[in-house]
C-alpha cells in the first residue's frame, strides 16, 4: 500500500477508536446483526400454529418459505430456517453502508472542525490519495466489522440449526458472494456518497444529517434492488458485484472530479 495511504489509514483507525460519535455504531450494529437472528432461529417454533401464536406476521414468512421454489427441495421444517438465514443477509448488506457512511460523513467535516484540513491540503498530498485515504478509512473498518459479524453469525447459525434441525445450515455460495463482495462495495459506495456530502457540508451537524438522509435510503435501495436477488442466485450475485462495483467506481470518479480544495476551504461557517 502507498505509504501515505497506510499512515493516513492508521491515523483514521486510531481516531475512530476514540470517536464517541461513531464508535457506538460499530459495537451495537454488529451485536444486533449476530444476536437477533440467532435468537430468532433458536426460538422459532416449527409449527405454523405456534408461529402464529408468537407473531401473526411470521405466518406470512412461513407461507413465503413454503412457496419459494428455491427452497422446495428441502424438508418443510427446514424451509423457514433457510429463508430466514437467507433474508438475514440484509443485515450484513446494510451494516457496512451505515457504518461507512457514518465515518465518511465526518471525513472532511471533522477535519474542518478540528482545523486540520488546511494544513493537510497545504501538503503535497494529491486529491486522489486524500480521497482514497478517506474512502479506505471509512470503508475498511466497516467491512472488517461486517465480515467479523458474518463469521460469528455463520458459526452461531450452524450451531443453532444443528441443534434444532439436526443439520447445520451454512451460507450458500450466492450469500457468500453477496456478503463477501457486494456488501464491501456497497460500503465503499456509501462512503463515497458520505464524503461528497461531507465536502459540501457547511458544518459538522449538517454533514451527519445530510449523510443519513442521502445514504440510508440509498442503502435500503441497494438491499431491495440488488442484495436480495443476489443472495438467491450465484449469477445474480456476480452481476450485483459488477453493478455495485461500477457504481462505487463512478462515485469515486465523480468525487475526484468535484474535489475542489478551494470549495472545501471556503465553504465553512
Amino acid at each position: 500500500m502507498n505509504p501515505v495511504l497506510s499512515i493516513f489509514l492508521r491515523k483514521e483507525l486510531r481516531d475512530l477508536r476514540g470517536n464517541p460519535q461513531v464508535l457506538p455504531g460499530y459495537l451495537i450494529l454488529p451485536a444486533m446483526a449476530v444476536i437477533l437472528p440467532t435468537l430468532m432461529l433458536a426460538l422459532m417454533p416449527f409449527d405454523p400454529t405456534a408461529i402464529a401464536a408468537v407473531d401473526p406476521d411470521l405466518v406470512t414468512l412461513f407461507r413465503l418459505a413454503s412457496r419459494d421454489p428455491t427452497l422446495a427441495v428441502f424438508p418443510e421444517r427446514e424451509r423457514m430456517f433457510r429463508l430466514l438465514v437467507r433474508e438475514f443477509v440484509a443485515f450484513f448488506l446494510l451494516m457496512p453502508v451505515i457504518l461507512a457512511s457514518m465515518s465518511a460523513g465526518l471525513a472532511i467535516a471533522a477535519e474542518k472542525q478540528q482545523r486540520t484540513l488546511e494544513p493537510i491540503l497545504a501538503t503535497p498530498l494529491s486529491d486522489r490519495d486524500l480521497l482514497l485515504a478517506k474512502l479506505l478509512a471509512a470503508a475498511v473498518p466497516a467491512v472488517v466489522v461486517t465480515w467479523a459479524a458474518v463469521l460469528l453469525s455463520v458459526v452461531a447459525t450452524a450451531i443453532v440449526t444443528q441443534v434444532r434441525l439436526g443439520t447445520a445450515l451454512w451460507p450458500t455460495a450466492a450469500v457468500l458472494v453477496t456478503v463477501g463482495a457486494v456488501a464491501p462495495l456497497g460500503g465503499a459506495a456509501a462512503a463515497l456518497l458520505g464524503i461528497r456530502v461531507s465536502v459540501k457540508a457547511a458544518d459538522i451537524q449538517a454533514a451527519v444529517q445530510a449523510s443519513g438522509l442521502w445514504v440510508i435510503p440509498a442503502g435500503i435501495l441497494l438491499i431491495a434492488v440488488v442484495g436480495r436477488p443476489a443472495a438467491r442466485s450465484l449469477p445474480i450475485a456476480f452481476l450485483a458485484v459488477a453493478v455495485v462495483g461500477a457504481i462505487a467506481w463512478w462515485l469515486f470518479r465523480i468525487n475526484l472530479k468535484k474535489f475542489e480544495r478551494e470549495e472545501i476551504l471556503t465553504r465553512w461557517v
Binding site: I7, K11, R115, P119, A122, T123, P124, L265
Partner: protein, 313 residues
C-alpha cells in the same frame, strides 16, 4: 530572481473583492510582515500563493513555481512551502510525535530522516519530554509550538506564518521570534501575517500593509522616511532658540519640538540630504551647543500602518 512574486493578484468571491491587484516581490532570505485589519485579505493572499485557492486575475510565482498551475507542479510547490495557520489544528487523539510522523510522511520524509527531524525540533521548541503525549493534553502554547514544528520541519524554502506568537507567553514568544530569525538567517523566505506591530518591526525586512489592495510595501525605514520626509532629530544641552539661530545661519531650517527652558532641547529639522548631518553637528559645536543625541527621524510602524489603513478609509 524573487522567491515570491505576485503580479496583479486578485480574488473575487461572488460580488465581493477580497484581494485586488496585489503586486510585490520578495527576495530569498527576506522576511515580509503582512499587516492589515481583520478581513483585509491577508489569508486569501497567502492561500493564493500556496495554490490552495485560485486567483480571479493575476499570477504568482513561489519558489520558482507559477500559480495557478497543474496539480503536479502544485504538489511540488506545496512540498517547498510551510504553513502555520492562524488556528492550528491537530489530531487530538494522536500524540505529538504521531501527528508529526503523519505530516512528515505527507511531506515525503521517512525513516531516520523523519525521526531525526522530529526529535531535533521537539527538542528545539521545548516539547521533547511531552512528544509522546496526546495532543489533547497540550496547552494552547504547546499546540502553537507544535504547529511551528509542522510548518518548518521539512525545511521549506518559503514559510507562511499566520500569527506565530499568538497565545504564547512572553518567554515562548521570544523563543519563537529567535527561531524565525534563525530561519531567515538560514535563507528561508518568510511571510508573517500579524497584528503585532512590535513583532513586525523587530523581525521584518519588508512591510506589506494590505486592506484589499496593497497599501504600502517596502523596508520599514523607507516607509518611515516616506511618511515623515527625510528628517533629523537633535537633542542639545543649551537653549532651543540659540540652536535654531545657529542652524539657520548655517543654512538649515530647524524647529523646536521640546524645550524645557533650561535644556535639554529637542529639535527637528528637514534634511533632504542625509550626508549633510556632519555639517549640522559641526555648526552646533562651533556655536558652543552641547549635543546629546543625533538620529534620523522616521515614522514608527504603527504610524505607517495607521496612516496607510486610514488613508484607504
Amino acid at each position: 530572481m524573487p522567491m515570491v512574486s505576485a503580479r496583479g493578484l486578485t480574488r473575487v468571491f461572488g460580488t465581493r473583492t477580497a484581494v485586488e491587484a496585489v503586486t510585490f516581490d520578495l527576495e530569498p532570505g527576506q522576511l515580509c510582515a503582512l499587516l492589515g485589519p481583520n478581513g483585509a485579505g491577508k489569508t486569501t493572499t497567502v492561500r493564493m500563493l500556496l495554490g490552495l485557492i485560485g486567483p480571479s486575475r493575476g499570477t504568482a510565482t513561489v519558489a520558482g513555481i507559477e500559480v495557478p498551475n497543474d496539480p503536479a507542479r502544485l504538489a511540488e510547490l506545496r512540498g517547498r512551502v510551510g504553513l502555520l495557520t492562524e488556528t492550528p489544528g491537530f489530531y487530538d487523539r494522536l500524540s505529538a510525535v504521531d501527528n508529526l510522523v503523519l505530516f512528515g510522511r505527507l511531506y515525503g520524509m521517512t525513516g531516520p530522516l523523519l525521526a531525526g527531524r522530529i526529535a531535533e525540533y521537539l527538542e528545539r521548541l521545548g516539547l521533547a519530554e511531552r512528544g509522546g503525549d496526546l495532543v489533547a493534553t497540550y496547552s494552547k502554547g504547546m499546540k502553537q509550538r507544535l504547529a511551528l514544528i509542522r510548518a518548518i520541519f521539512h525545511h521549506p524554502d518559503v514559510i507562511f506564518f499566520d500569527e506565530p506568537t499568538s497565545g504564547l507567553d512572553p518567554e515562548s514568544a521570544r523563543d519563537v521570534r529567535a527561531l524565525i530569525r534563525s530561519l531567515k538567517q538560514a535563507g528561508r523566505t518568510i511571510i508573517v501575517c500579524t497584528h503585532n506591530l512590535a513583532e513586525a518591526a523587530e523581525l521584518a525586512d519588508v512591510i506589506a500593509v494590505i486592506k484589499r489592495k496593497l497599501l504600502a510595501f517596502g523596508p520599514p525605514a523607507t516607509l518611515g522616511r516616506d511618511r515623515t520626509g527625510p528628517r533629523l532629530r537633535l537633542v542639545v544641552t543649551g537653549d532651543g532658540g540659540a540652536a535654531v539661530d545657529l542652524l539657520r545661519r548655517a543654512g538649515f531650517a530647524a524647529t523646536v519640538t521640546a524645550d524645557a527652558g533650561r535644556g535639554p532641547t529637542t529639535l527637528d529639522l528637514a534634511l533632504d540630504d542625509p550626508s549633510a548631518t556632519p555639517a549640522v553637528v559641526a555648526a552646533l559645536v562651533r556655536g558652543g551647543e552641547g549635543i546629546l543625541e543625533v538620529r534620523p527621524l522616521t515614522a514608527s510602524l504603527e504610524e505607517i500602518y495607521l496612516a496607510a489603513v486610514g488613508a484607504d478609509g
